[in-house]
Symmetry: C2
Subunit: 413 residues, 2 copies
């Protein structure tokens, strides 16, 4: 049922086909985020129209609400959310360690990730920075990590929950996505070397427990990706890549790479050196247009990122090169600014997405944004996801025709 076949290489970049029980995914692929079992403001029929191939849902959120049994009762996520195409779930580890730390208390994701860091001066520096921006900080701990388990407090109702690698596997099996991820601990470059190394070995132990449990569940409708961690340290990334490659994981996830462009490219470089090339590779939580080119060129096959949908809801529309998108403007324009008040052209003049081809103007969407009208969010979300699919289709075609550099040139300048 699960297969990954590369049809063409250009350097390390590759195009292929990832087969799952719910359909085939042409790679490289962009993966829209459906955190709470819905891509915000749109319906599955819209995703089909945009030609989205694969969604990722968040285990942590769904575990807390509506709860695993509700989704299991509906036959898993596909039945529950009425999306019949392929789905991934993350392990929940990232959210447990960041969101679980209390977003409702105004704690930024980043700060709490480091609450357990041994490098207190770095944590303090970040706290000072957050305070200087007027962001509220609490240092109360909502998450306790040991080698055996994670104990965390729900951001919804304050209840405490205990997670182990085995439990993450059981939950993800019930959620029923096609692709699941092993439980890991996500670190960041603000963690020091000592903590990162200790954490990496804990992640590897958790991933081993994950795969043992996963294979015991005998859920033939799912496959599992391991996750490469190791922070910004070449030797740790190399060790971790070797670990994932040498274990019985169907695919390779690259975690903890959301730092800055330079470090991310280094990480991709180190990891790609250790990849066998046989397993599909997913870059977790990253999907900027430049990041996608950087990843594809190092052999990444799929990318998930909430940005295209998140920024849509504040009125930021993505622009392909056909509509003036460049690296300089970050392929974006904010539709809510005054200059678009009377602009009767579509969001993207040369776009062709359902929102643009149906005739909605910048002027109208500008009005909807100012009026906080929900239909506005639907229109911009559809537009942005369509631009991402356009990019990926061009990248796939570029690789197949050995002209990826032309696609890069067109988008990146």
């Amino acid at each position: 049922m699960f297969q990954f076949n590369v049809s063409h290489f250009q350097g390390k970049a590759r195009t292929g086909r990832l087969s799952t029980p719910h359909g085939e995914i042409l790679t490289p692929a962009f993966v829209p985020v459906g955190t709470q079992a819905t891509v915000k403001s749109i319906r599955p029929r819209d995703l089909l129209e945009i030609k989205s191939q694969l969604l990722i849902c968040n285990t942590y959120h769904l575990y807390l609400r509506p709860g695993v049994d509700v989704i299991s009762n509906a036959g898993g996520l596909h039945g529950f959310m009425n999306w019949k195409g392929p789905i991934m779930t993350d392990s929940g580890g990232f959210q447990v360690l960041s969101l679980g730390a209390g977003i409702e208390h105004g704690v930024g994701k980043t700060v709490k990730l480091f609450a357990d860091s041994t490098d207190d001066s770095r944590v303090e520096a970040l706290v000072d920075m957050k305070k200087s921006r007027g962001e509220i900080i609490t240092k109360e701990k909502f998450c306790f990590v040991s080698d055996e388990r994670i104990i965390f407090k729900s951001h919804l109702d304050g209840t405490f929950h205990e997670w182990t690698p085995e439990k993450s596997m059981e939950i993800q099996s019930k959620l029923g996505a096609d692709i699941v991820f092993a439980l890991d601990e996500c670190t960041s470059p603000l963690h020091n070397r000592e903590y990162t190394e200790k954490s990496l070995h804990r992640s590897h132990a958790w991933e081993e427990r994950s795969i043992v449990k996963f294979r015991k569940l005998h859920n033939k409708a799912q496959e599992i990706y391991g996750i490469v961690q190791g922070g910004p340290y070449e030797d740790l990334r190399t060790e971790s890549t070797k670990f994932v490659e040498s274990h019985d994981f169907f695919g390779v996830g690259i975690g903890g790479a959301l730092v800055n462009k330079t470090v991310m490219e280094d990480i991709l470089d180190w990891v790609s050196k250790g990849l066998s090339g046989k397993k599909p590779v997913h870059l977790l939580g990253i999907g900027g247009i430049d990041d996608i080119f950087a990843g594809v060129e190092k052999g990444v096959d799929s990318f998930d990122c909430a940005d295209p949908t998140r920024i849509a809801r504040r009125g930021d529309i993505l622009l392909s090169p056909d509509d003036g998108g460049t690296r300089k403007n970050r392929w974006r324009a904010n539709i809510a600014v005054a200059e678009f008040r009377d602009d009767l052209t579509p969001l993207g003049i040369n776009c062709g997405c359902p929102s643009c081809s149906e005739g909605f103007s910048k002027s109208y969407v500008n009005h909807l944004m100012w009026s906080r009208e929900l239909t506005g969010y639907t229109l911009t979300t559809i537009h942005n996801l369509f631009v991402m699919e356009k990019l990926m289709a061009e990248i796939r075609e570029g690789i197949a025709e050995n002209k990826l550099e032309k696609v890069r040139e067109r988008w990146m300048g």
Copy 2:
């Protein structure tokens, strides 16, 4: 271009065809509300799929934001909002006199409507009732009415605006709806007889000025409805009906009837006695299922009401008799309650609306409501508007086949 042809009567109830430059409307018709040039959370394509025939937009809201010139620049509302079917705009009078009175200050629509009432004891009683419910009250005046004009404060930015009947016509001409309404002053049963009578004569003077101005604008793409006011007083309603019938209005609007069921039925009775039967009749702001039967039986041809869409966004779904809707349950169920948490049946098992036939379950929509996910609002809005269209189609067929009482029996029990 404009025509109204009744094809069949059953008693005073009638079915027919209202022709406008943007299409024909089969009557009796339900008119979804698109206050800010959008039916909240859905797109025109959804309205086409539901078979909605006619929308009503609010002049007051659109005048304040995005402003008349923005819409005029887009070729009027049809071009601006990308809905190619027929549109109505109200005169703005109701909102000016209620919302203009300061919704952002926590003032209920009703209270401020009566701020100018001479019957202070009634106003005070209402204020006491609101306070007992914990609603915030301000008695600061945001609206000043004279025979010549209305001066009101924007609920958005506090700026003052002056409206006359002539100005309402100019604005509505620029907005470009197919059907516009004359400017009137909307009273309520809490106004006393003296004020209601004085206000009615002012409304008639405004409506005369409205039609003079409207005809001068020579906008052949529009027609105008006069509005019958007169509160809960038979002689005033009779006088007002005669006024509207005897002037050059294409249609008759019935305003100020949103009181209680008994008074509304009295008003409809009094008004219907004075109707010539030649003009289409619209009941403003009313669209409960029982109200629609009451109206249709007195010769009303169209109804606008924000309830089906508004309640959708708090999780109330409408139920046709096929799904257990009765007068007793107000044809409603709240999808967010715990009993639906694991219910895998569609919102309406026998519904057939796009949301139900596509396979979204009560369990899923329950989750979306709890998670405040925008997609949930889209699904329930589509469902509710579809149920309204189902009702209206049955009513039209019932009249055409002389069996309206069977349709009534089916829905009302």
